[in-house]
């Protein structure tokens, strides 16, 4: 059987709760072997999307496939290839860490927990109910990584964890994904991760999507995103022409004028150099600085832009 083009395909998927639309209809494709970061602030619909993809929730309209299987038909056997890690997941508190692994082992054909507890520094004989938040998350990672899933969906796995624990989880995760596809050279495991820990995400995500109030604003490779976004500072000879103009191109986000200094986020740097477009739009620009942005500053800029009216001057 040939492998489907994408690990996850979403077509016009939407979800309503009691008539309120929490996810508006959108399309999304998560390539095989990618580490796909799902960003958006609280209530954006990230958790709902993940639960729809796992058949925990049923879509109001549209459809999605996961590893080629319609999500609404995902059941027992498919979960030998799909792992799920969530900060909200309820674990059998009475089991020890080793007890959980021993219990889960017979469910999976390709179980290998060798070295996992050591890598994650997990106490095998401690009950899950007695573990700290970080330890619980480590136990969840261990119980998923042990069966070498083709797809891992993670919902805020690093929330509330200290830096050391986050680093340990990411290193273990990356270390266990070392098997590569012979043709593409990519990892055979696809990861969809929703997180607010943008600094960490940026270090390993290959793709990124941004959800805002249930709408998908964009989804693209991380490199493309980083290349696209620039923080632009323009020193003007006089603020007057800019202040009277008050309209900017759509890809100038959150323009702010402070005296003779104009600042904005430029989202088209991959298409056209910021300096060229600024000189064209604002002939009176004296000096132009264009700085690359990291994921966190891009996220903040997008959030800010969505709060203000797009393209207008503040």
């Amino acid at each position: 059987m040939s492998r489907p083009a994408a690990a996850i395909e979403v077509h016009h998927l939407s979800k309503k709760f009691d008539g309120n639309e929490v996810l508006s209809s959108f399309d999304l494709s998560v390539p095989h072997g990618s580490i796909f970061a799902l960003l958006g602030h609280n209530g954006a619909g990230k958790t709902t999307l993940i639960k729809l993809l796992l058949n925990i929730l049923v879509p109001s309209s549209g459809s999605a496939t996961v590893l080629g299987q319609p999500t609404t038909s995902l059941a027992g056997p498919e979960f030998t290839r799909i792992g799920y890690i969530s900060e909200n997941q309820e674990l059998p508190e009475w089991m020890t860490v080793q007890g959980l692994l021993d219990y889960l082992r017979p469910f999976y054909p390709a179980w290998d927990e060798t070295g996992l507890l050591e890598d994650l520094d997990l106490p095998a004989d401690r009950k899950l109910g007695q573990l700290s938040r970080g330890m619980r998350m480590k136990a969840m990672f261990a119980s998923v990584l042990a069966f070498k899933p083709s797809l891992i969906l993670m919902d805020e796995p690093f929330a509330g964890l200290d830096v050391v624990t986050r680093d340990m989880l990411i290193r273990t995760l990356m270390g266990r994904l070392d098997s590569k596809d012979e043709r593409s050279g990519r990892s055979e495991t696809t990861i969809l991760i929703s997180s607010h820990e943008l600094a960490e995400i940026e270090t390993f995500a290959t793709h990124v999507a941004f959800l805002h109030e249930g709408r998908l604003l964009f989804a693209e490779p991380m490199a493309n995103l980083i290349m696209r976004f620039r923080e632009v500072t323009v020193r003007l000879s006089s603020p007057e022409p800019v202040a009277t103009c008050r309209r900017f191109p759509a890809d100038w986000l959150s323009p702010e004028l402070s005296g003779a200094i104009l600042r904005f986020t430029y989202t088209g740097a991959n298409m056209e150099d910021p300096e060229t477009i600024v000189r064209r739009e604002i002939p009176g620009a004296e000096h132009i600085d264009s700085d690359p942005m990291n994921l966190q500053t891009i996220f903040l800029a997008l959030a800010k832009a969505n709060r203000t009216r797009h393209g207008s001057l503040r």
Partner: protein, 482 residues
């Protein structure tokens, strides 16, 4: 199946304390219950009270155990770890079924077997009763409890749901269904209702396990309960009218024996014979007609008589449902709705009367010699308790039995009499008790001695009958019981 066993082993590992407490309760019951059986040397009111508490606690333990094991992999919610693991729903359902079978039902059945054995009764002979007991426990407790557990998230929620069910059931019995115990249901209606109810509940349970659509399952559960109560209300109250009466008539064909007749005797009943002898509902009055069943062969008995009547006068017609009746010597008693009685009681009406019943004929008689403890027909065993036999049966006694006692020669301090003493056992279909032993006191009109000869005559069915009688003109008020 391997997955089901794996889940089952995990459940046992986690819930062994609860199982242990449950088994201790059964053990205490098994030891204590025989101590309060009639004829026991120990008469401790506190112990009897403790047994009563246990008979309440054991079904509660069923409920707690079932809810706990089902909630191990709760079907309600979106955050349970198991829902994104490779569980097959049928394996999960099988694992829970296995747990209920082995950890809930099996200890209970073993406890009942032990009590049957302790009562000196044969476990082999009790097997059919045991099966019916298991069926009833499953229908009334295990399946509904499992479904309640499957559509609730916590033990508290499950208890609330159970409490709601009991309150609705109680309200139904006390209000809507009041008085229906006098009415006859169509044949097999109860069995059909049970099959329908169990089928619906099992279907909903499977649906819930297969889909985890709790909202729909809850709606379906409530709908099934409403349908069940509606059918029960309709059938037991004869509210479905003519179709139900017709179904009953079909099951009781008109008697083809020309000699067998229901004869309404002329005149009124003598005053001493007009006292009430039925417990009719508040909305009814008791009618006592001078009537006789003619042509019944010697030794035959009438069992479970029911009456339906039609009253007709100009512009008025009323047909009653089939209702329990008493057929005594030259008197037939039956209830009549007070509203009907008030309307036509003092007027001349045409009465069409139908009586249906089961005929019983004497079967095999067996003579046994009474002793301190002795076996009796019907796989029973009797003991002596203060001069009267107390007979024990496992779960039920299937045939009405007439017992005749002839005093033996052995002196036991009781004045002897040449006159035989008689007693009758009714049919006792009792499968829903925790204690499987049915105790039946043999109520002779006097004490008897050990070594007396007791003749047990079981009555067996000789078919059903339906008889009719017409009275062109009658005033019902003249036949009201006082």
């Amino acid at each position: 199946m391997m997955q089901a066993l794996h889940i089952f082993r995990k459940d046992i590992r986690h819930l062994w304390p609860e199982c242990g407490v449950y088994c201790v309760m059964l053990l205490v019951f098994a030891v204590a219950a025989p101590l309060v059986w009639p004829g026991s040397s120990l008469t401790n009111p506190a112990l009897a009270a403790a047994i009563r508490v246990l008979t309440f606690l054991i079904p509660l333990a069923f409920f707690v155990l079932i809810v706990r094991v089902v909630h191990e992999e709760s079907l309600v919610g979106v955050n349970q770890f198991w829902i994104t693991r490779p569980y097959r729903w049928w394996s999960l359902l099988a694992a829970k079924g296995l747990f209920i079978l082995i950890c809930v039902l099996l200890p209970f059945v073993l406890m009942q077997c032990w009590l049957v054995h302790h009562a000196g009764l044969s476990i082999d002979a009790a097997a059919s009763g045991m099966m019916r007991s298991i069926l009833i426990v499953s229908v009334y407790a295990l399946i509904p409890y499992t479904l309640v557990a499957a559509i609730t998230a916590t033990l508290t929620e499950a208890f609330m749901a159970l409490a709601c069910m009991f309150i609705v059931w109680l309200c139904f019995l006390l209000t809507v269904n009041e008085g229906n115990s006098m009415n006859l249901s169509p044949p097999h209606s109860w069995a059909i209702l049970i099959v329908l109810f169990v089928g619906l509940l099992t279907g909903i349970l499977i649906y819930q396990y297969a889909t985890r659509r709790t909202h729909y399952s809850r709606i379906a559960f409530v709908a099934a309960a409403v349908l069940f109560i509606f059918l029960l209300w309709g059938f037991s109250g004869a509210r479905f009218g003519a179709p139900v009466r017709a179904m009953i008539r079909d099951a009781y064909p008109l008697s083809s024996e020309s000699s067998l007749q229901l004869v309404v005797l002329p005149g009124l009943l003598p005053d001493h014979n007009r006292s009430t002898d039925m417990r009719v509902q508040k909305d009814s009055v008791e009618i006592k007609l001078p009537a006789r069943l003619k042509g019944l062969p010697d030794g035959y008995r009438i069992h479970n008589p029911n009456v339906s009547f039609t009253l007709e006068m100009q512009g008025y017609r009323y047909t009653s449902p089939w209702q329990t009746a008493n057929l005594g010597v030259d008197v037939l008693s039956f209830p009549m709705l007070r509203t009907v009685f008030d309307r036509v009681g003092r007027k001349d009406v045409h009465l069409h009367l139908e009586l249906l019943a089961e005929k019983l004929q004497p079967g095999i008689s067996r003579v046994v010699t009474a002793a301190e403890s002795f076996n009796v027909p019907g796989s029973g065993r009797c003991i002596f308790n203060q001069g009267f036999p107390v007979c024990r049966y496992a779960f039920h006694m299937l045939s009405p039995t007439r017992i005749e006692a002839i005093q033996g020669n052995q002196a036991c301090g009781i004045s002897t009499s040449a006159r035989p003493a008689y007693a009758t056992f009714p049919v006792i279909p009792d499968f829903s008790r925790i204690d499987p032993i049915v105790q039946q006191h043999v109520r002779f009109d006097r004490k008897i001695c050990p070594a007396s000869q007791l003749t047990f005559t079981e009555y067996v069915s000789a078919g059903r009958l339906r008889l009719q009688a017409e009275i062109p003109s009658i005033r019902m008020a003249e036949y009201q019981a006082r």
